[in-house]
């Protein structure tokens, strides 16, 4: 039996947590996509060497405490207003890498005006949009992106289009705006999807350096607590039900 100390050596290292990710224990439910996306953003920041130049804007929603997990300067915004904060930081510090990290309620419901106008102005920022079709933090209420017939705490009999309108497919609208240069829809349900999503996040951050305007990365995500499914079942449900409405892939890459 070899000693554990003989195994933990630099030459045996196959994986290391990025230093941009703090040691704080995440409050996210097991199986939630947030933790993976946080890690990808943190890895991209470390790999690009932009930790000192990055300002994150956290939303209201499950990721309100994102500032506890990425070791960068953060601003915590009011619900939906993150793109307005990011606008000011971008205008006052054009040399910085500014990103917002927003959920579907934050971005596609209460903050619709702010996201549309920030993207329309072509603010030189990255938007990470987590779409899990539900309000996770407040206990699983209907979101603007909740699917037709989907049961939530405020659509207990399933989303009724006549009553609540259609799921808002906002990323397609965003892609129409000339201020955006890169609009993509990703997921993190398989190792291959995680690698692809990381590439997309990396490209979005690189676009800031090239002053390309707004880069928008939607990540179709799971909320196994809100969906009341196991993490594995959530991934299956997402592929089966979310992907037909929120189709993965690039919508725009200029």
């Amino acid at each position: 039996m070899s000693d554990i100390k003989d195994i933990i050596k630099d030459e045996n290292l196959v994986y290391k947590k990025t230093k941009v990710l703090t040691d704080n224990v995440m409050h996210y439910c097991p199986g939630c996509s947030h933790g993976v996306v946080h890690k990808l953003v943190a890895e991209v920041i470390e790999e690009m060497g932009i930790q000192e130049k990055t300002i994150g804007i956290s939303p209201v929603g499950c990721s309100v405490l994102a500032y506890n997990y990425l070791d960068i300067d953060w601003q915590e915004a009011a619900h939906g207003r993150a793109p307005a904060l990011a606008t000011a930081v971008n205008r006052l510090h054009p040399e910085k890498y500014v990103f917002t990290y927003q959920g579907d309620g934050d971005l596609a419901s209460i903050g619709t005006a702010e996201i549309m106008h920030a993207c329309n102005r072509g603010e030189n920022i990255v938007v990470i949009f987590i779409n899990n079709a539900i309000y996770g933090m407040t206990g699983g209420q209907m979101a603007p992106t909740t699917l037709e017939g989907m049961k939530t705490a405020t659509s207990p009999y399933g989303r009724d289009i006549k009553l609540n309108g259609h799921p808002l497919i906002i990323t397609e609208l965003i892609a129409q705006l000339p201020g955006t240069s890169y609009v993509t829809r990703q997921a993190v349900h398989t190792p291959a999807a995680v690698r692809k999503c990381k590439k997309a996040i990396r490209k979005a951050f690189e676009n800031i350096g090239q002053k390309k305007g707004t880069s928008f990365v939607e990540v179709v995500s799971t909320c196994n607590s809100g969906w009341k499914l196991s993490p594995v079942k959530s991934n299956e449900w997402m592929v089966e039900n979310m992907f037909p409405v929120y189709k993965p892939g690039d919508l725009k890459d200029e």
Binding site: E52, T54, I72, Q75, R81, L85, H93
Partner: protein, 361 residues
Amino acid sequence: MAEYKLMKGNEVIAEAAIRCGCDAYFGYPITPQSEILETLTLRQPWLETGMVVLQAESEVAAINMVYGGAACGKKVMTSSSSPGISLKQEGITYLAGAELPCLVVNVVRGGPGLGTIQPAQSDYFQSVKGGGHGDYKLIVLAPASVQEMNDFVDLGFELAFKYRNPALILSDGVIGQMMEKVKLSPVKPRWTNEEVIKLNGSWATTGKTADRPRNVATSLELDSARQEQFNHKLQAKYKEIQEKEVRFEKIACDDAEYLFVAYGSSSRICQKAIDLAREKGIKVGLLRPITLFPYPTKAIQEMAEKVKGILAVEMSAGQMVEDVRLAVNGKVKVEHFGRFGGMIPSPNEVVKALEDLIIKG
């Protein structure tokens, strides 16, 4: 050599902002204050000082842009008029809760609702009692002239950064639209990024370097015990402001038997009313609060020992009069006189109100 100009109150806010080294202005058009944004976009200060000027998509976005800029440790401001200021209240309480310095200008018009575009002073409660949610205070300055519109921009920023708290200039449509001679402030350069780090680096989001922990601008604290501690800290700050920053002016108070208490444009009307009353042999003076928070409570208490009655004159249905009554605490009679909904009282009306409500009443 001092530079004098004939300017509108709103225009001078824009000029003073550029001259005091303001880093950014975010606004949205609304009467009667649109000249602030118009003057700034005409002056193009981004070519001169690098100051950012941006017309936001809404008042809500504008105040949140202010949050973003203020959290960078920069001198950032917005302006609006009453309905727009109501929209900004969410952002203002977040700014107060995150202890971010900034300057907000309210050129008040009559309300409630869409109201009128004519001047009023009916946003007093909103300004000094906290228009948004939670226990917080703004530092509130009430200019009574175009000169003070100029002076209070720099003063507002100074106090905002001194206490890391939003400051509000509570003006009104009279002062905003009126033209007067103004002595412009000397030009101060904007802070460099290095100066911002030196002055505000302990809290501002200037980019996390290896030599310090990350800075987070937030008003969130989910642990109730810690949230209470934070509230105690805020209250201690407001107490210090109350002790150190009270500003007021007394006019014709030495021999006064009666007293007007009025701020902003009402105080200008009261000055004329003093002349008219004294021609009739009524010895009346004026106490003009310059800061509405902190309120000159002690100065009013002292005057209550000397006079027979006090008339609070406001272009509202009676808001500041409550703070006068709290200060006087029943020592002498306190009444309110006001025109509102966009109407401005004449000096003669004010004298008659003094006679009817205080002297005869």
